[in-house]
Symmetry: C2
Subunit: 107 residues, 2 copies
């Protein structure tokens, strides 16, 4: 579990939004679909893989389904305070990776 991998996994708005939902409790993969609409399951599975390989989530089979859950304690013990800081951030994140940061002032 490497900090840069965790940060990268959380640096995507879709993945971060999912992690925030997972902070409230585990979800089946099918319920990891974004709120606004559906994405192909292969795409979703790939996003989950990125989070899983970074060590952010866990993926446990249960019958025909799989429960996805946040690895809170592992993250907390490895990077104390990190998850709390990220989850505390107000809703937003925009989904905009190209927008100009409004506060990038000096320079």
């Amino acid at each position: 579990m490497v900090v840069t991998d965790v940060l990268f996994a959380l640096s995507d708005p879709a993945r971060l939004a999912l992690v925030r939902r997972l902070a409230e409790g585990p979800l089946e993969v099918a319920n990891c679909q974004p709120a606004g609409g559906e994405i192909p399951k292969s795409t979703l599975s790939h996003q989950l893989k990125t989070l899983r390989e970074a060590g952010v989530i866990r993926n446990v089979p249960s019958g025909r389904q799989r429960y996805v859950s946040l690895r809170r304690e592992d993250l907390e013990s490895r990077f104390p305070g990190l998850l709390a800081a990220i989850l505390a951030e107000p809703g937003e994140t925009g989904g905009d990776r190209h927008g100009r940061p409004s506060a990038a002032s000096p320079g």
Copy 2:
């Protein structure tokens, strides 16, 4: 200043290493060169740009040089605890010499 942009900027080992050095104090751009060796100045400038546009650093001209510094307070007020959590992390990406038992979770 968007959290995903900040996380992305910090998700690269080279950029994160630089941010850690900047945590000890401002540096001239020329001194932002990585410890191990030199990289082309255009590459370095590009890395600085990524950090700057994410809102992580500030780049202030001073004579012919420019001072690069961490935007600690801005980061702290926008994302309380985030920077502390990331800077607190020990030896960066080099900590794992035993394979990867914890990176790949069940699944």
